[in-house]
Point group: C2
């Protein structure tokens, strides 16, 4: 049986830290492109994904549930409402591949955590969801480790830069331009972005003729 | 037979981008602590490491070779001077564990690359060193992929955030404080660094009484 996977998603005014390089409309399209990459990776890895959106959303390739609650209560209600394994994967991980998803869900531990850059948590896989609850924001990776410890759950830390790299800031776009293969990098290229090298450092630039 | 591993190292005025949070003397000690973590991970993984240093260096736990050449000619001379497998691992990777090293050197491909954040290359493993040369700086990861392609070498991309996270800037210290277990994080703590959370973002702060 395929593993249920939830991808929380905020369609309206997403990725505000990218507003120096992308307009609001572009950020919304970019966030959707990243979501598509994540959901497709989940499907290819054999998961049964659905999107937990803050507003109604048309999506042709996955179920959508709407919750107006904040992230933590929305996910904890979801955890409490059913049983069995659950994978929670963030929507801003366009480098994630089916292989990374398979590494997460094939963990031999009671659960697996995918740390995100800056102390966040990009993936949580729980074999028995009744024994866990989420606590996002701040150094959530450390909080989730502690929740696992307190529940006596063995926990694998998935060591993947593809999972670690959430795209929030301009410099994260460099990672996507170098390692991306899906809709999100295609969108960036269609906007005129390319890699640039200044004083030995790799950055991104955007062509004017758009 | 254990695999030869070289760790290039610049002991004098290293990690200049950390000069806003660490003095020159502290940066030198910090760079040495990171080097120790890397060399210890190599030894525990069964490699035979040596340090390729820009100046003479006293080191009790590994051989030291001195080369005053730039990084690329120094490494390419080393590659040309001998045969057999070689692992090149950067010195500023204090999150690298023996498990990560074993993942690199157990690649089934002709060679393996460990991408670094921002287009760099943090690890190069070559089974037959005669067929490869290095070209660091800029988007070296892409250059090294191209060199492998042109030489007809199959190349594994090692997907590890521990290998991807080179410590260059203040925000990289957050990763070390969260995921580090060795001498480098101990050094930071001894300097009074701790994690801090401001407006939901995780950063580092340094206590005044040092």
């Amino acid at each position: 049986m395929s593993i249920e996977a939830v991808v929380p998603f905020k369609p309206v005014n997403p990725k505000s830290r990218l507003s120096t390089v992308l307009s609001k409309a572009e950020r919304e399209l970019f966030a959707e492109a990243m979501l598509t990459d994540v959901v497709m990776a989940l499907k290819e890895a054999g998961c049964n994904p659905f999107i937990l959106s803050t507003v109604p959303l048309h999506c042709s390739y996955a179920r959508v549930c709407v919750s107006t609650e904040e992230l933590n209560p929305a996910l904890n209600n979801l955890i409490a409402s059913s049983s069995g394994p659950l994978l929670i994967l963030m929507a801003d991980l366009p480098l994630v591949t089916p292989g990374v998803v398979r590494r997460i869900i094939s963990s031999s531990c009671d659960m697996a955590l995918g740390p995100g850059r800056g102390g966040g948590t990009n993936a949580i896989f729980i074999k028995d969801r009744a024994r866990f609850h989420v606590d996002y924001y701040g150094a959530s990776f450390l909080k989730h480790q502690q929740i696992a410890d307190q529940a006596g759950l063995s926990c694998e830390i998935v060591d993947s830069f593809r999972l670690h790299t959430d795209v929030d800031e301009r410099e994260d776009l460099v990672e996507l331009m170098i390692h991306g293969r899906g809709k999100a990098v295609d969108f960036l290229k269609s906007c005129g972005f390319s890699l640039s090298i200044e004083k030995g450092r790799v950055g991104i630039s955007r062509s004017i003729e758009e």
